[in-house]
Structures are given as structure tokens and as C-alpha cells.
Amino acid sequence: MMNKGTAKRMLSQNVREICLFCVIILLAALVNLRSGGNFLTAKNISDMLVDTSILAILTMGMMSVIITGGIDLSVGSSMALAGMVGTTILKNSMASDGSGLHPIMIIVIAMCIGAAGGLVNGVLISRLNVLPIIATLGTMNIYRGVTYLVSGGFWVLQQNMTTAFMSVATGRLMGVNNLIWIAVLVFLVNFYFLGYARTGRQIYAVGNSSESAAISGINTKKVVTLAYVVTGALAGLSGILYVCRFAASQGETATGYEMNVIASCVLGGVSISGGSGKVHGALLGAIMFGMLNNALPLLKISPFWQEAIRGLIILFSILVNALVSRHSTKKALERRAIA
């Protein structure tokens, strides 16, 4: 029952996401052409999506923190910690016949660890008024250090993991890898939560203006804390999936991953100053980032060039984004002046 007006409004509200989607399609087509049709094969697309799904899960978590106007630098360390604790528990629970705790239990444990880490961040930031970048910089060091302490300097390897756990990352449901299903689930929940749930909308309100949100009766401290807890829980989830996919857990797991996540958020049009950003935008940003990671080696670009090219593409897209939004603000102002 969508009439013309709603369609038009939906289009104008999602200009940025539609642009990004077109860029992704265009880039994919170009890469496919250059690589002689090796890019857009069913196998490569599914490989790429599996690789991207972990990043996408965390990007959709990080966006709620960024919407509140904060940032979470500790997610990489949280991933390592949750992955390490989860796999260590798994290792200790393993019987001689190779059975152990159910993978779902391990995932829940990892998410709880991540959420606890997020709660610490949230309390520091909302109750004790520490700036997000400082608080999470500190906890980034702390969680990484705790990871080393938990591991005792050892790796948890494939032989220490049960086959049931390993099959989380390799198994398929209806021909599609489990990781992709998990990412889709996180997307749907987050899409509803941030777009339509009351608490989700409050996150945007706090990000736009903390004071007016407080005046209109929103418990800003609770909302901010919640955003960090959600991010932490999703960091725990992606940490355990990361460990599961690469079949190894170690102290250095996911070092520097936070920068990939922030870059994906920025590509997806989530504003670092807070208050704006869409879940499908963040998802597209993560897919774009994942595609760059997958396409550059396929184009036989030297690995030493990939980093710089990736950076320049990110720079290009944020500059275009800034110019487009400048243009649209100007147009909106002009329209108001005429009317």
C-alpha cells in the first residue's frame, strides 16, 4: 500500500545508502571485469560474505556507540578476551572422546564476557564522566593484558576445540554459511531495535543532544551504558566467531580490529559526531570494506599497495559523503528561502 509520496520520502531519506549501494555494485562490476570474471562467482561471493560477516556484526554494534557520540576502541581487545575465555572453557570441558560444552553455551559465555567489558566502559563513561576515547583506550590495554593473563601466553588451537564448536563457522544452513545467518539475525534485530524500538530511538536522541534528551525525560546515563553493553556483547559474539573461524585463539587476536570497524562505520555513513547513521548503512559499509579486502588480492595488486589503496578509497568516500551532505543542506536551505 505504498503510495507515491511515501516512496519518494523513503528514497530521499536513504540517498546516502542508495549511493553506497550503487558504488558497491559498480565497484563489483569493475573488479569482475578486471579479474576476468573471477570476482562475481557464487563461491567467491559467499567466501567474501563469510569473511565480512564478523566485521559486519561488530560494525552494527559499534554504530550504536558512535550514534551516542562516543567511540569504543576496546572492541578488538574485547574480542580477544571473549574468544580466549570461551575457548579456554571449551578446552577444559573437553572429555577424552572429543565432546565438550555445547557451542551455544560457549557463545553465550563469550557474549557475557563481552557485555561485562562493555558494562565497565559504559559505567566509566556515563556515571564517572570519563571521555569515551580515554576510557576505552584504557580498557583496551586492560582487556588485552587480561587476555594474555588468561592464556598464560599459550595459544588455544584446533586440537583443543570440539568438532561441534568448529562446525559453527564451517557449517551451513540451507546452503548458506552459519556466520552469514548470524550476521543477518543481528542485522534484523538491530534494524528493529535502532529503527523502531523506544530505547533505540532514545539512543539517537541522546546522540543528537544529550541535554535536550535529558530534559525530555530520557535517562541518558542508562541509554549510554546500554549502547556500550550492546557493543560489548556483539564484540564478544564476533570474538568467539573469529576464533572459531580461524581455529586459533591467542593473545594477539584481532589486534587493531577496532580501526577496521570504525572505518566501516564511517564508510556506512554513521556520523562520528553522533546522532545519525542507519543500520543498513553500517551493513553496507562493512560489506564495502570486506569487498575491498577481497577484491584487491584478486586483482593481483601487490600486498604492499593494498593498505594505501584501501586508505585512499576510504578518504575518497568520506570526502564525497561530506560534499554530498553539504550540497543537500544547501538545497534544503534554498527551498526554505523560496517557500
Binding site: L131, L137, S325
Partner: protein, 345 residues
């Protein structure tokens, strides 16, 4: 110096508030002094080898190449910005220096080239920030972080450049008498930056911008020019730190100095500089640099694993930021006020 700083700033800003001992000793710098004393006392009691002059000097030599970056970073943070591209700038300028020296350029010219590269990196960051005001410093320097190190790895791939002349080693390892050369550089830098930040029009302008950039602009401060200048200076000092690091390591590679940006930001913040802009002083930053450096050294001497040191530094950083906040948090809390029946702490 600290006392006179306090007087000048209070005369300018607070219009001659009477001097009070209580306020003077409640300053953040005194907390740091206390922390410094505690850490040293603990270190001394834990290890008899700690308080040996030569040991301390060599420890200082170990962390002073990082410390060169704290003052420009302090200015960046005073503005309310952040620069996470400095480690990549260091890598790029060091790599270009090494490659051009190995290609036959005289060492002095290669060093100047490194400074120019650093300045260019900082200038690009600053220019992007000034031209695109809607982008935050975090994003711009995040891109810089990726691109600069990316260029360094294009130039040198996974190789290394080095075999620098013998005199070049002196920068990182040399002593003047019994004092490391690098410590003298740090001391001079501290004095110069202390003067610039606290006693010049430029420095006071930086504080004004950090407090409120719009008001600062209306009161006639050339906001954009200041910002550009500070980011360029950040780049130049990254190159200087890179030269010292290269001298110490004897070779350069694209992966050098990874993670330095977080260490340096942590030192500056521990020194009482607020990312909200407009707060913090040079003496605090100097003390916090030594706190972090000597803590690492002291714990290293008694074989505390570096992972535990990581946790301690993280906790220290957070606690350091919480304590000054605690006053406002507590006095705004209802239970606290009921308890003490007062609104001021």
C-alpha cells in the same frame, strides 16, 4: 615555574583571585608528584638496582624518543582534537630517510627530507580538517594512519633500510657527560613548549580554542591557521621522533613504531590534559611522561610481565581521569549531598 604559571593564568582569566594554599595543593600536578613519589618508592623498595644513576639514565634513554611527541600531542588535545596518525607519520618519514640515504643522499639532507615528509603529512591532516569542518580529527587521522603507513610499505615492501653513518647513532645512544643526549633534547623541548603554551599569545589562543572554538574565532583568533600550524608541528615532531628512533634501532622498516599513538595519548591524558579541550599544563605532562616511563622500567627490573604492565598502565590512565571528575560527580549526586549536607566539596 609552576607557581608563576598559575599566577599568570589566574590574573588573565580569573581576575586576581587571592592566592590560596588549599587550591594550590589541590591541583592535578600535585597528585602526579605524589604518584611519582609513590612509584619511585615502590620501585626502590622492590629492587636494589633501581636507584643506580646509570640505570635510571639508560631507562630514560629508552622511553625518551616517544616523549618527544607528548608536547605537540598536548597542543592537539588542547584543541579538542586528536591525532592517531603520528606513528604512521613516523614510519613514513623514517622510511623515506633510510631509502634516500641508501640511494646516495648525504645523511643530513636525508634527515631534512624526513622532516619535510613529516611536515607534509601533518599539513595534509590539518588542511583536510580545516577545509572539511564536518569531519572529525579522529576520522581524518585514522585515514592518515592507514595511508601513511601504506605508502611506507609501498616504498620499502617488507624490507629494511639502514647502515647509517656512525655519528648518526649518537642521537639515540649518545651521552653528554653522564646524561643522555635525548634527555637534554626533551628538556629543551619542555622549556620551549612550556613557554609557548603558557606565556605567548599563541598558547593562550590554543586554550581559548579548546574551550570554545566559535568564541575564539569571534574574538579575533585565526582559528584555522592555528589548527593547521599545530597539526603541521605534530607532523614535524613525529619526524624528529622518527629520526631518534631510527638512530636507536639502526635501521628502518615500514612496521616500526606501531601502537605509539596510543602510548603517547595515554601519557598526555595522564598529565591532566583534557580531550574536552582547554585544560592541562606542561609540568603535568612532563611528570606523567616520567611516571609511565619509570613505572615500565621499575616493573621490568623485577620481571613483571609486560602484559601485567599493560593492565597497570590502563588502570592508571582511567583512575587518573576519574579522580578529578569524582569531585563533580559526587557533589552532583543526591545521596552524597544528603550525607554531607553540602553542595560544595
Amino acid at each position: 615555574m609552576e607557581q608563576s604559571t598559575q599566577r599568570v593564568s589566574s590574573r588573565v582569566i580569573l581576575n586576581e583571585r587571592p592566592f590560596s594554599f588549599r587550591r594550590f595543593f589541590l591541583q592535578w600536578e600535585w597528585m602526579l608528584v605524589l604518584l611519582f613519589i609513590i612509584i619511585n618508592a615502590v620501585n626502590i623498595s622492590l629492587s636494589p638496582n633501581y636507584l643506580v644513576f646509570d640505570n635510571i639514565m639508560s631507562a630514560i634513554q629508552m622511553f625518551c624518543d616517544k616523549s618527544i611527541l607528548v608536547f605537540p600531542m598536548m597542543m592537539v588535545i588542547l584543541l579538542g582534537d586528536i591525532d592517531i596518525s603520528i606513528a604512521s607519520t613516523m614510519a613514513l618519514s623514517a622510511v623515506i630517510m633510510g631509502v634516500s640515504y641508501n640511494a646516495g643522499m648525504p645523511m643530513e639532507a636525508a634527515m631534512l627530507l624526513a622532516l619535510a615528509v613529516g611536515a607534509a603529512c601533518g599539513f595534509i591532516n590539518g588542511m583536510l580538517l580545516v577545509k572539511f569542518k564536518e569531519l572529525s580529527a579522529m576520522i581524518v587521522t585514522l585515514v592518515g594512519m592507514i595511508v601513511y603507513r601504506g605508502i611506507a610499505s609501498i616504498i620499502l615492501e617488507d624490507g629494511a633500510a639502514g647502515s647509517f653513518p656512525a655519528w648518526f647513532q649518537y642521537l639515540g645512544w649518545g651521552y653528554v657527560g653522564k646524561v643522555p643526549f635525548i634527555l637534554i633534547v626533551f628538556a629543551i623541548e619542555a622549556v620551549v613548549f612550556g613557554y609557548i603554551i603558557h606565556f605567548t599569545r599563541f598558547g593562550r589562543g590554543v586554550y581559548a580554542m579548546g574551550n570554545n572554538a566559535v568564541t575564539a574565532r569571534y574574538s579575533g583568533i585565526r582559528v584555522d591557521r592555528y589548527r593547521l600550524l599545530i597539526f603541521t608541528a605534530m607532523g614535524v615532531f613525529s619526524a624528529i621522533a622518527a629520526i631518534f628512533l631510527a638512530s636507536k634501532m639502526g635501521s628502518v622498516r615500514p612496521s616500526m613504531a606501531k601502537g605509539y599513538e596510543m602510548d603517547i595519548i595515554a601519557m598526555v591524558v595522564l598529565g591532566g590534559v583534557s580531550n574536552n579541550g582547554g585544560k592541562g599544563r606542561v609540568p603535568g605532562v612532563v611528570i606523567s611522561t616520567f611516571i609511565v616511563g619509570l613505572l615500565r622500567y621499575g616493573l621490568g627490573i623485577i620481571n613483571v610481565p609486560s602484559q601485567t604492565i599493560m593492565i597497570i598502565v590502563g588502570v592508571l590512565l582511567i583512575v587518573a581521569v576519574i579522580i578529578p571528575n569524582l569531585k563533580t560527580t559526587l557533589s552532583s549526586s543526591k545521596t552524597f549531598r544528603k550525607f554531607f549536607n553540602t553542595s560544595s566539596f
